[in-house]
């Protein structure tokens, strides 16, 4: 049993155009990894029969709410879980339909890897670029391009290679940063999903499952070289007989590592102190890594509250500015208004800001930059300039996702209306 208690966690997202076979692929992964229970299977068999399907429809396994069932499409991000003896997986399943850029952005925000589906008969299409660009924009380290429905093109190596070449060309033009992997599969028949394919002896790249089980999980390596970041979430003050003077700073490590004795600086105040203790409930640690939740105790009594960031005084410091440039995805039906006051929030801080300028809006299908925009609609992606009412402590998104991401909230409706990835300072 020991092997099962120390698995790693891989989060991935899936994208493809409607009918490329995404639901079938996820159903296949769950089915062939024996993650489907009898009663779920029975329910799907019955639902398949009710709809007049002859074979069991694996896509129904991942079908969620009633509205979708009626429309026959997925409409939001749904999360699925399965595990093998090596890893536990969380799939953020997002729909491929044109107006759902926002769902893919949401699903991609927490992913370590993106599976992008291509219908082998159609090859690289406009939406393939869009999905890849979003994966890259959200800085997902790995993209796995699954060329699906190989059974419908006679498992042809030549056609597969042509699609791969076409994709690589597009990725270079589109500035896609992720590490790329290519797999010829048939989700429906199972080739190269969990089981090796007897139909494609020319393929030596293994199965999708093998890749998912072994690909290095980059951002979670607790990189010693990455500068320490500790956003303070909550101050623990028991005020009890046993702990009369206890003052602990609770939070989740958002970058690098922290050791007892490290000299830390509090931002934005700039005050410094030393780490006296690192606690995880009753347990005392000598070191904490990203992304552990811990409680830090400092040598000195200084004024620290929620929203402050603790950093190592001897490492690279975050930036601080009231003028930020970011890549933004608009998430709401209400269009963006220049000059309107919005709330901006990251994992622990909150502030007020306004959008000063839309530098350009991106045509997500061609990556063409359109200037002179004055508003953004739902699903638009744009580069914008923000002005904040107080200085914002940040790292660029590419340096640190937690320190470089924000959401925009409409104070009138309280809804989350925009997602932003900080590029840097910008007047």
């Amino acid at each position: 049993m020991n092997g099962y208690l120390d698995m790693e966690l891989l989060r991935f997202t899936t994208a493809g155009s409607v009918d490329d076979g995404k639901s079938t692929l996820i159903g296949r992964l769950l089915y062939d990894s024996k993650s489907i229970f009898e009663d779920q299977l029975e329910a799907v068999e019955e639902a398949s029969r009710n709809r007049g399907n002859e074979e069991i429809n694996l896509a129904l396994l991942t079908d969620g709410l009633r509205a979708e069932r009626e429309q026959g499409i997925t409409i939001d991000v749904a999360y699925r879980y399965f595990a093998t003896p090596k890893r536990k997986f969380i799939i953020a399943d997002t729909p491929g339909h044109i107006q759902y850029t926002r769902n893919m952005v949401t699903g991609a925000s927490t992913a370590d890897l993106a599976v992008i589906l291509i219908d082998a008969r159609k090859g690289v299409v406009e939406q393939t670029l869009r999905h890849s660009y979003i994966a890259s924009l959200l800085d997902i380290p790995h993209i796995v391009v699954c060329v699906n429905k190989m059974d419908l093109i006679d498992f042809s190596e030549e056609k597969f290679r042509a699609i791969e070449a076409r994709y690589r060309e597009m990725a270079i033009k589109g500035g896609i940063r992720a590490q790329l992997h290519f797999l010829p599969i048939s989700a429906k028949l199972g080739d190269n999903v969990v089981k090796d394919s007897g139909n494609m002896p020319w393929h030596h790249g293994g199965t999708l499952m093998q890749l998912l089980e072994t690909v290095p999980i980059l951002h979670k390596s607790g990189d010693e070289k990455e500068p320490m970041r500790f956003p303070v979430q909550y101050v623990i003050r028991p005020i009890s007989d046993k702990f009369p003077d206890f003052r602990g700073y609770a939070g989740r490590m958002a970058g690098g590592v922290v050791h007892i004795g490290d000299e830390v600086k509090v931002l934005p105040s700039g005050l410094t102190s030393k780490v006296k203790a690192i606690m995880q409930a009753e347990e005392n640690l000598s070191v904490a890594h990203t992304p552990e939740s811990v409680t830090l105790l400092l040598e000195d009594e200084i004024d620290i509250s929620r929203g402050d960031i603790l950093v190592n005084a001897n490492e690279a410091q975050p930036q601080m500015s009231r003028d930020l440039k970011l890549m933004c995805c608009w998430l709401n039906e209400a269009p963006m208004q220049l000059g309107k006051r919005y709330v901006m929030q990251n994992s622990v801080s909150e502030g007020t800001c306004m959008v000063k300028e839309i530098v350009y809006r991106l045509d997500i299908n061609t990556l063409e930059q359109q200037t002179e925009c004055t508003t953004l609609q739902m699903n638009d992606i744009a580069k914008i300039k923000l002005h904040t009412s107080t200085p914002w402590v940040y790292d660029s998104y590419l340096q640190n996702k937690t320190m470089g991401s924000i959401v925009l909230i409409d104070p009138d409706s309280n809804e989350t209306i925009g997602a932003g990835m900080i590029v840097g300072q910008g007047m």
């Binding site: 049993m1 208690l5 120390d6 790693e8 966690l9 229970f37 009898e38 009663d39 779920q40 639902a47 969620g64 709410l65 009633r66 509205a67 069932r69 749904a78 999360y79 699925r80 879980y81 595990a83 890893r87 536990k88 969380i90 952005v105 949401t106 925000s109 927490t110 979670k220 390596s221 607790g222 010693e224 979430q233 909550y234 623990i236 028991p238 009890s240 206890f246 602990g248 609770a250 989740r252 590592v257 995880q280 409930a281 009753e282 890594h289 992304p291 552990e292 939740s293 709330v343 929030q345 990251n346 994992s347 996702k401 937690t402 991401s405 924000i406 959401v407 809804e415 989350t416 997602a419």
Partner: protein
């Protein structure tokens, strides 16, 4: 050497982060405590999140009056140990005061009635965030549930109008009268929960382990032959070796024939079983979308 976090550590860290966000963003949060293993794990995580301070929320138990005695004993001991405050919302009281009507017949269950009692309790104590132990892997309608799930002033859930949740940023803003349901263990599976209980030695109510019990078989499912259950003429009571895989109201808690008497046995059993834990719950079987319908009304 690069550092690796195990899946259980990562899940724990994420859940503690969510619980601390609740404490930071809301004024009157509460933990919805059913006595089931999931709410026990959530309570344990809350203990860890705020140590050495006490959990800054009360535990709220919506009591159907049809409980396994072991669950209540366990609940009272836990509350004492944590020094927590317990608030009980009583379904019996909702029936007595005419807020809800008791169902009749063999399939009568107080499960659905709980929703009214729950919403009344939230209203009475003005809770603005209710922390639950639901997991996304339990049921399809839950698969798209957010960590912070917004409820309108009637306590209802609108699956079409959920706030997008990106990275680890949780938007808990709301108007007067609205509240949130928060699910810190959204990303855990049944197996994760059991492994975590094992790894951390978390005590559980004895009904999770094998014991002899008077049971009867209905639609292929063993149920407890307690006084609140009405038997059909052809159903007969037998003594069986059983345990619960999930614990709720007696009327909808299926019992598993099992000899598992410790956590290692249970984990081995679950690794081998081919039925989901909700497969044993009569409340989900009513229709293909029953969970979704109940959630919209304001159910857990």
């Amino acid at each position: 050497m690069s550092y690796k976090l195990t899946h259980l550590k990562e899940l724990e860290s994420e859940s503690i982060y969510v619980l601390r966000e609740v404490a930071a963003q809301f004024e009157k949060p509460a933990i919805l405590f059913s006595g089931g293993k999931d709410s026990i794990v959530v309570t344990y995580l809350a203990y860890k999140a705020f140590y050495p301070a006490k959990i800054p929320f009360p535990l709220v138990h919506i009591d159907t009056g049809h409980n396994f005695a072991e669950t209540i004993t366990y609940r009272d001991e836990l509350v004492k140990k944590l020094g927590a405050r317990l608030i009980v919302g009583s379904v019996q009281e909702s029936i007595d005061t005419g807020r809800v009507k008791e169902e009749k017949g063999y399939y009568a269950s107080r499960n659905r009635l709980q929703t009214t009692t729950l919403l009344d309790t939230i209203d009475r104590y003005q809770f603005d965030a209710c922390i639950g132990g639901a997991r996304r892997d339990e049921e399809k309608a839950r698969a798209k549930e957010r960590f912070f799930s917004h409820r309108d002033e009637l306590g209802q859930w609108n699956p079409k109008n959920q706030r997008p949740e990106l990275w680890n940023i949780f938007n808990g803003k709301k108007n007067m009268g609205e509240h949130f349901r928060v699910f810190p263990i959204s990303n855990w599976t049944e197996m994760d929960v059991w492994q975590y209980i094992y790894q951390n030695n978390i005590p559980l109510p004895s009904i999770y382990f094998t014991h002899e019990r008077a049971c009867f078989l209905r639609n292929g499912q063993w149920l407890a032959a307690e006084p609140c259950m009405k038997l059909k003429p052809n159903e007969k009571v037998e003594i069986k070796q059983v345990r619960c895989r999930t614990v709720g109201d007696i009327s909808c808690t299926g019992l598993t024939l099992s000899k598992a008497h410790n956590l290692t046995d249970i984990i081995a059993e679950i690794a081998a079983t081919r039925i989901t834990e909700r497969g044993g719950r009569a409340d989900d079987k009513r229709s293909e979308t029953s969970m979704e319908d109940r959630k919209k009304e304001g159910y857990f």
